[in-house]
Amino acid sequence: MAERPEDLNLPNAVITRIIKEALPDGVNISKEARSAISRAASVFVLYATSCANNFAMKGKRKTLNASDVLSAMEEMEFQRFVTPLKEALEAYRREQKGKKEASEQKKKDKDKKTDSEEQDKSREEDDEDEERLDEEEQNEEEEVDN
């Protein structure tokens, strides 16, 4: 394969850490071996993507989804990855659900607070509260996008 631009490489530090955690303590990894594994990982991503994309196209979809990736793993004879990947997917979905619920709850609490305060305060102060609420809502939206 021809040379590739830097962007298609994965960060050395992370790759090295994953290798070290996988191997027994005290094993030395040559620089060449490390660099080769990093390249292999990039090739793996390409191969997996291409495979997953075939499944998406079969399903007449333009967006790759989780099941396409799982099907790709089986196709590539990496069935051993399917179970841990499914577990990771569950964990990820729970995490996303948790984040969403947390931000929705925050919003609810603020709405409640503003309602009870409005009854006591004058109009000027009401405007201030609404401004603050808008700002906070904007902040929350930013978090959800991340």
């Binding site: 394969m1 962007d7 298609l8 994965l10 960060p11 992370v14 790759i15 850490r17 994953i18 290798i19 955690e21 996988a22 191997l23 027994p24 005290g26 094993v27 030395n28 990894i29 040559s30 060449e32 071996a33 080769a36 594994i37 390249r39 292999a40 990982a41 990039s42 090739v43 793996f44 991503v45 390409l46 191969y47 997996a48 993507t49 291409s50 997953a52 994309n53 196209m57 333009k62 967006t63 790759l64 989804n65 989780a66 990736v69 799982l70 793993m73 590539m76 004879e77 990496f78 051993r80 990855f81 841990p84 990947l85 577990e87 990771a88 997917l89 569950e90 964990a91 990820y92 979905r93």
Partner: protein, 130 residues
């Protein structure tokens, strides 16, 4: 709160994947015909890549000869790729290395074979011209 599916990182935060999603996405997008990638697919691909790195490292270590010296070398990786059906897709980028002297010898032997064939033809021409 340690969970088998969730990785850990130095800050003590629990992280699902260590590889940067932005970089994984760049590589995925460089593949032709891929229009868009759903966030879950991105996370799973990153996770699969981590599993792959672990697999390649441990397989190569066990399979290779570096094990005796408690080291993982390039040749361990190259021979594992060659010998494993699952890892065949890596043989192009992880070619086995040979000594330059051995390669030159192989080239020389090949040329000698070709010359022998040519000699046959030349002598025919020689006879015609003579």
């Amino acid at each position: 709160m340690a969970d088998a599916a969730v990785g850990k990182d130095k800050c003590g935060e629990q992280r699902l994947v260590s590889l940067p999603l932005s970089r994984i996405r760049v590589i995925m997008k460089s593949s032709p015909e891929v229009s868009s990638i759903n966030q879950e697919a991105l996370v799973l691909t990153a996770k699969a890549t981590e599993l792959f790195v672990q697999y390649l490292a441990t397989c190569s270590y066990r399979h290779g000869s570096g094990k005796a010296k408690k080291a993982l070398t390039y040749s361990d990786l190259a021979s594992t790729a060659e010998d494993s059906e699952t890892l065949q897709f890596l043989t192009d980028i992880l070619p086995k290395k040979i000594l330059a002297s051995k390669y030159l010898k192989m080239l020389k032997e090949k040329r000698e074979e070709e010359e022998e064939e040519n000699d046959g033809e030349e002598s025919d021409i020689g006879e015609v011209l003579a």
